[in-house]
């Protein structure tokens, strides 16, 4: 928007104008500031409470300036707290999430890249329809897949194990990763492929020597979104695993709901932080890739 500049001294209308302008600016910053507070409040509460002593929290409430400091909640949450029958903290669950998320992210991204490569550069009759069919998986509600997965995982003896969840997330992630990669590869000029074919390169040589070197932008975006999505996923984690095999999202719910009387806000806050930090870190360091993924993916 273009702002006109006025000569303040000479023009009373200009003085009024600049006053209105200043008021507008104040209003905008106040509005943004207010919402920023609302957005940051939960983050502040969780971080602060993980470093406060529980009696002090109960006395002063959750939303208060910390008046105590203790690191004790963290080791408790990590290794000692009693959740769902065992008293090992959420360490196990954290690693479950890690063992589940990393392989599933890597495999689904690579297969998605291969799929995107084929669907954009080696079209064949029916490849567009195939693409649409694969992408439908992005919109499918997980509930429709619950029963079939339960049956399949049972038959493969993968129920209540991280491996089962890895399989689930790979297959379900393929829809999303294929969508992203194919839409990215479509923008690579076809002439590159033609030149490579004339140069004698075949399908795989072109993929490894030409396409993959051009892929870091989309691979980063895809990995970030997949990691965040799989780490934060809850439904399949809670349905197909239990107790110590659960990923951290399910463990957090168990922890937060297993209360009798006094909520252990300090330990629970530390546990929430442990569960939320990996995606948050990725967000802080890879924020622009997050947004790139948004604008690319949501508006097809």
């Amino acid at each position: 928007m273009v702002d006109a500049t006025f000569d303040l001294a000479l023009d009373s209308q200009a003085r009024g104008e600049s006053l209105r302008y200043a008021l507008r600016r104040i209003a905008i910053y106040a509005f943004l500031g207010l919402f920023a507070l609302i957005y940051l409040l939960p983050l502040f509460v969780v971080v602060a409470n993980s470093f406060r002593e529980l009696p002090e929290i109960t006395r002063n409430g959750l939303i208060a300036f910390p008046q105590s400091f203790s690191l004790g909640a963290w080791p408790k949450a990590w290794a000692h707290y009693c959740v769902a029958g065992t008293c090992e903290g959420i360490k196990r669950n954290f690693f479950n999430s890690l063992y589940m998320t990393i392989p599933a992210t890597i495999v689904s991204t690579l297969v998605g890249a291969l799929n995107g490569y084929v669907l954009s550069k080696w079209r064949f009759p029916g490849s567009e329809t195939l693409f649409v069919c694969i992408v439908l998986g992005v919109f499918m509600p997980g509930q429709v897949a619950l029963l079939p997965w339960a049956y399949i995982l049972g038959a493969l003896h993968l129920s209540n194990s991280v491996y089962g969840l890895i399989l689930v997330h790979i297959i379900q992630g393929l829809s999303f990763t294929t969508l992203f990669c194919r839409n990215y590869y479509v923008n690579i000029p076809d002439d590159l492929i033609k030149a490579a074919r004339i140069d004698g390169a075949g399908f795989w040589r072109i993929f490894f020597k030409i396409i993959l070197p051009l892929s870091p932008p989309i691979l980063i975006v895809t990995v970030i979104w997949q990691f965040t999505g799989i780490w934060n996923e809850f439904l399949f984690g809670v349905v197909f695993t239990g107790g110590t095999e659960q990923p951290i999202t399910a463990a957090l719910v168990a922890l937060a709901t297993s209360q009798m009387n006094a909520h252990p806000y300090d330990v629970a806050s530390a546990a929430v932080m442990i569960g939320a930090i990996p995606p948050l870190l990725i967000y802080l360091f890879g924020g622009k890739y997050f947004v790139r993924g948004l604008t690319q993916g949501a508006i097809k």
Partner: protein, 311 residues
């Protein structure tokens, strides 16, 4: 001479065969992923559909019983509450997220300082699980230690903030938390859209004498109308799949007042041993999604065809 020619021909025909096989490499390469996806998308759906018309209870049994599970489903009050909640929630959630997201985007677009910081603040909920959001906000909503406690401790001793413990208002807690989580997403997309408006259009409007409000209403917002629709569709999708947030925030309570379809599906399938009815509920969710997505898909195809026709 002829031996050399026929040897030549043999080499060439082997080369042709090799090239024909090479032509199949792309299809073979995509086959595993494609088959897995198709089994997932279509196989699972059909399987669940079949279970939803069978007499299964605890385990799948495949005797066809027609639409009986669906009647059982709809005769259940909890399901009706859940479905009603879904509509109510979706309307508020989508509209409010769009409104807040748009307001934030317009505010940031006014060339404020520190734009990257504002964006980071409003967008970080996207990196956070609905579960974490639900758990933390449930603490904030709790009367004993959360907002009510805070306001009382500041002096207003009679202040009550029982949103979440009242069966008639708990749904608003879910709506508010959902909007908190998703308006950053709407904001990011609106901001990108506002930035992509042709600056010449705005300049022409300014020369025409329009003030900022009018320019926004008449020039800028209409240009980004497609983004409204895209964001609304994505948000509706999230709304229909709502599960994590409810479990973490209210567990469907108080009572059954904030049950959502996804929660009831889980309940039917894994706690009540009624998987046929659960499958029917899952199919109802799928239908709800289809009602949103199919018109949108058709509309985008129709629009792009119209655009290419006009060049």
């Amino acid at each position: 001479m002829s031996a050399a020619l026929s040897a030549n021909a043999a080499v060439r025909s082997r080369a042709v065969l090799r090239d024909k096989l090479a032509g199949w490499t792309p299809r073979l390469a995509i086959a595993p992923g494609a088959i897995a996806s198709l089994v997932y998308v279509f196989g699972f759906t059909l399987w669940t559909l079949y279970i939803s018309v069978s007499n299964s209870t605890m385990l799948p049994t495949y005797k066809f019983v027609g639409l009986k599970p669906y009647f059982d489903l709809w005769s259940n009050e909890r399901w009706r509450v859940a479905y009603g909640n879904l509509f109510y929630f979706s309307a508020f959630y989508v509209v409010l997220s769009l409104a807040v997201g748009l307001a934030l985007a317009i505010a940031i677009d006014q060339r404020v300082k520190g734009e990257a910081i504002w964006r980071t603040i409003f967008l970080y909920p996207l990196a956070v699980s609905f579960v974490v959001t639900g758990v933390v906000w449930s603490w904030l909503y709790s009367p004993d230690a959360g907002i009510e406690f805070l306001v009382r401790s500041l002096g207003w001793h009679d202040f009550t903030f029982r949103l979440i413990t009242d069966r008639y208002t708990a749904i608003y807690a879910i709506i508010a938390t959902g909007v908190w989580q998703s308006s950053g997403f709407a904001m990011a997309l609106f901001l990108a859209g506002l930035r992509s408006v042709d600056p010449d259009l705005v300049k022409a409007a300014q020369i025409d004498g329009a003030g900022p409000m009018r320019i926004y209403r008449k020039v800028i917002l209409p240009s980004i109308a497609p983004i409204f629709v895209a964001v609304a569709v994505v948000l509706l999708q999230f709304a229909i799949k709502t599960f994590d947030l409810v479990v973490a925030l209210t567990h469907g309570g108080p009572g059954i007042s904030t049950t959502f379809p996804a929660n009831y599906v889980y309940d039917l399938m894994f706690q009540r041993g009624e998987i046929a009815v659960g499958a029917a509920a899952a199919i109802m969710m799928l239908l709800a999604l289809a009602v949103v997505l199919v018109p949108y898909g058709l509309w985008t195809v129709w629009r792009s065809r119209g655009e290419s026709a006009h060049g």
